[in-house]
């Protein structure tokens, strides 16, 4: 409770979170309540914005605004799920490496560094290319699986510094097992940190989805912000000046990730007093 209060004392956190939740909950509510089908072809190729379709239509003659709302929902869900996955894998690997130390750490750490240095973009592309079918779920998995190293690295550093804390020795003297210690003595201390990492990973997930979709490796038969961009490029929205086909998606991606970054930075300032002004 107290932590939450401190958290909300940061304008950045409040602002970022509000924007994010507004977009996320808004898009979920809209898609749940509205009967508007985003794939309904209501107009022609790139009809300019009008009263009826405030953001015009896309290459399929679909209402861009409705698509955008669905796209935001999908992208955010992909981002959050990939974020959860990446955070989960990274936290497990990082905690084990950092806490266990010795050769386990060496092995896991070299693995992490290897994955860090090899552009995750490359792995992402290779994985996505080799998928038979790219459902939303699989794409999310692929993004999550390729982005854990950052988490692992960050968590490892935390865990290995926590390892030397005296309450860990104390817990050992209480006869707690290593697993128990990891869960009760190490993890809770990293929670805020892990949450921050999760926020960043989610933002990364959204960006990755967009990047993959741009390459034509995005989820099939789904509307996401990246897919919208990919269509706009495919159908020459830029050349024909149909800004409404790409700008709203670009802007939404930027705003969502911006809001997440703000939350992260705000949290960082709260939890690391050195950044506090």
């Amino acid at each position: 409770m107290k932590t939450l209060r401190i958290l909300f004392s940061s304008g950045k956190v409040v602002f970022g979170l509000s924007v994010f939740l507004f977009l996320f909950i808004g898009s979920i509510t809209f898609t749940a309540l509205s009967s508007k089908d985003p794939t309904e072809m209501v107009g022609n190729l790139y009809d300019s914005p009008s009263k009826e379709y405030p953001l015009g239509t896309d290459n399929f003659g679909r209402d861009v605004l409705v698509e955008l709302i669905h796209g935001i929902k999908t992208s955010v869900i992909v981002g959050l799920s990939a974020g959860i996955l990446a955070t989960l894998i990274g936290t497990i690997i990082g905690t084990i490496a950092g806490f266990t130390g010795k050769w386990v750490d060496n092995v896991l750490n070299s693995l992490t560094n290897l994955f860090l240095v090899i552009p995750s973009f490359v792995i992402l592309v290779l994985l996505a290319v080799s998928l038979q079918k790219r459902s939303l779920f699989l794409v999310t998995m692929v993004i999550g699986i390729t982005s854990w190293p950052w988490t692992a690295r960050a968590v490892r550093a935390q865990a290995s510094s926590l390892k030397t804390r005296e309450h860990i020795s104390m817990a050992k003297l209480n006869g707690k097992g290593n697993l128990n210690i990891m869960f009760t003595e190490v993890l809770p201390y990293m929670l805020s940190y892990i949450f921050m990492v999760f926020v960043i990973q989610s933002a990364g997930g959204i960006l990755n989805e967009a990047g993959l979709s741009m390459l034509g490796l995005g989820p099939e038969n789904t509307i996401s912000l990246g897919v919208m961009l990919s269509w706009a490029l495919n159908f020459e929205a830029v050349r024909t000046g149909a800004w409404w086909a790409f700008f709203p998606a670009v802007f939404s991606i930027a705003v969502i990730t911006f809001s997440l970054y703000l939350v992260n930075i705000g949290m960082d300032e709260v939890f690391n007093p050195r950044l506090r002004k």
């Binding site: 022609n44 790139y46 399929f60 020459e236």
Partner: protein
């Protein structure tokens, strides 16, 4: 020394070293040809995608201007015997002065005697015979020739004859070869064959960077960014056309995306293009000097008809009423307007196009009687007629309990206009309660699915080229079932494994005919079978090439109002005549 200076010095060093590396790597791509003048150069787009890999006609994917890229023949370097005119459907004399059927099985062609290769060697009937003979020796794109030809032989230096097989005398397919097979110089290719040890693999690896043909242009320069052809001023065609082609250079820049190519076209950097430009009329509405064949819709000359193909081995698509219901529920007009941005007239339920050279075989009665059109109510009635009921989720269920869906309609990802078409198909069907869902796998997957029969409904254009053999070729691809491999094995036509013995008979019979009346009769019967069985549904028309021109630098391009040449990109078949008539603006 101060540490700050140290950093700056190190960074400076880094920048210098990287600059050197970068510039030295760059120098490797610099060439030693001269820049070319805009007023002497005609720019193309839309034919060559990706960097030139070879100029070897035998690879099947030779780069522009050698035939092979994008399935287009052209006459710039290598030439065909006759010039096909897609508007009139005629074979115009070229190297071949004329052809005649000596008897039912024998075709004789007479050649010009003043044709020579770009290295000065004379062009003779031997070259022609050689060109067809190697297609017998090796698996080549035009090896199909030998399925119906028994023998090709020279008659003296400037004539040759072709004898059809008695059991498969396909006259229609044979004539195709007169317009779409580029003749190779025997004296050069025998050497290449010899060097390659008569191994087709080695022959295919031969890049032929300096192709020697009989045409008016030679490859001058190429890189992964562009290909330049330079005029061959000693061209034999001076005799035929009375002059040389006007542009000294033909350039095909290689655009990395459709967008880039279209932007260049819009700016006038490209003079004549065949890329899909959505809503091209907006360009002249903006005041740009851009034109297409027709001034009005559909702007382009429709030649092919992309279809959705049913898989006959999958239930419930094997039920004719289901196929018919689908045929009725599709909003063809919307496809023409939205997916084809009005570049297609609303499609008619026929594999014989109701316009162009094949119009003579089109029988409106049959289409009216057995065909279909957009009529969702009718689709519902058809389904009700076979006792189908709507399920709870508003989707039809057949008597045997089969739900109509989900049925996948697929085409490759990124084939954007088709994707839009299929979106409309699926939306149309869903509206009346047939659950068609779109599926856009990657191209290779889609192709694999298509050939191996692993699909519900797929999209493909049957025989999309303007050829003398149409509409037979189109029917053949859609309906001919003889020798078609079962599901799981590859079939490069009749993907849905449709089969009707009578259709096979008709398809065997038609190409043998010489009598036009009889031919129309059989075509009509074939059309009736087609309309009853519905192996595939045409969803839109498509031009062979999206011929469009920008008159910023060159004028007098052929068009409907000035139809001195067909809309064949100035270099293909009879389209080549345009090269002699266009005029530089300056």
């Amino acid at each position: 020394m101060n540490y700050k200076n140290q950093i700056i010095r190190k960074l400076f060093l880094l920048v210098v070293v990287s600059t050197i590396i970068i510039f030295s790597t760059f120098s490797s791509i610099l060439a030693d040809v001269e820049d070319i003048s805009r007023s002497e150069t005609l720019y193309f787009n839309g034919i060559q995608w990706g960097p030139p890999t070879n100029f070897n006609f035998l690879t099947g994917n030779a780069a522009w201007p050698v035939p092979g890229s994008g399935g287009m023949w052209n006459e710039a370097v290598y030439e065909t015997l006759f010039l096909y005119n897609m508007i009139t459907g005629e074979l115009e004399p070229f190297i071949g002065k004329g052809y005649k059927w000596v008897d039912e099985y024998t075709l004789q062609v007479e050649l010009r005697d003043d044709v020579h290769w770009q290295d000065g060697e004379p062009f003779t009937a031997d070259d022609v015979v050689y060109t067809f003979d190697i297609a017998k020796k090796y698996p080549l794109v035009n090896s199909g020739f030998w399925l119906y030809v028994d023998k090709i032989s020279a008659i003296g230096k400037y004539a040759f004859s072709i004898e059809l097989k008695k059991d498969n005398p396909n006259r229609l397919a044979l004539v195709n070869n007169l317009v779409d097979v580029s003749i190779l110089p025997k004296h050069i290719w025998t050497k290449i064959e010899e060097q390659s040890g008569y191994d087709i693999k080695k022959i295919r690896e031969y890049k032929n960077e300096n192709p020697v043909g009989s045409g008016p242009y030679k490859v001058y320069y190429y890189s992964s960014e562009k290909i330049i052809a330079q005029r061959y001023d000693n061209y034999w065609g001076k005799n035929l056309f009375g002059k040389l082609p006007t542009p000294k250079y033909l350039v095909h820049p290689i655009f990395k995306s459709n967008d880039a190519g279209n932007l260049a076209f819009e700016k006038g950097d490209v003079d004549v293009g065949q890329q899909f430009v959505p809503q091209i009329w907006k360009m002249w509405e903006k005041g740009l000097p851009v034109g297409t064949w027709y001034k009005k819709e559909p702007y382009y000359v429709p030649v092919g008809t992309p279809c959705i193909w049913f898989n006959f081995k999958r239930h419930p698509l094997d039920v004719p009423e289901v196929r018919r219901a689908i045929a009725y529920c599709i909003d063809y007009k919307k496809i023409a307007e939205l997916a084809m941005t009005k570049y297609s007239p609303t499609v008619v339920s026929s594999l014989i196009l109701p316009f162009g050279p094949e119009k003579k075989y089109y029988d409106e009665e049959t289409v009216k009687k057995y065909g279909w059109e957009y009529n969702p109510q009718k689709a519902i009635e058809i389904l009700q007629g076979i006792g189908a009921k709507k399920g709870k989720d508003d989707v039809w269920v057949l008597k045997d309990g089969t739900r109509l869906g989900p049925i996948k309609v697929e085409c490759p990802y990124g084939w954007s206009d088709w994707q839009v078409s299929l979106e409309i198909v699926s939306k149309s069907a869903q509206k009346i309660g047939i659950d068609l869902v779109t599926y856009f796998p990657d191209q290779a997957v889609a192709a694999d699915n298509r050939y191996s029969g692993n699909f519900d409904i797929t999209m493909m254009t049957p025989a999309g080229n303007p050829l003398p053999s149409q509409p037979w070729s189109r029917f053949y691809e859609v309906m001919y079932a003889k020798d078609i491999r079962p599901i799981g094995e590859l079939a490069f036509r009749n993907f849905g494994r449709y089969s009707n013995p009578r259709a096979d008979e008709l398809l065997d019979e038609i190409p043998k005919l010489t009598d036009e009346v009889k031919m129309k009769e059989l075509y009509t019967e074939l059309a009736k079978i087609y309309l009853q069985d519905i192996p595939a549904i045409p969803v839109e028309y498509r031009p062979w090439m999206f011929y469009q021109y920008n008159t910023t630098h060159w004028t007098n391009f052929p068009s409907e109002e000035n139809p001195y040449a067909p809309p064949q990109m100035c270099i293909t078949g009879a389209g080549i005549k345009a090269l002699y008539e266009i005029k530089p603006v300056k």
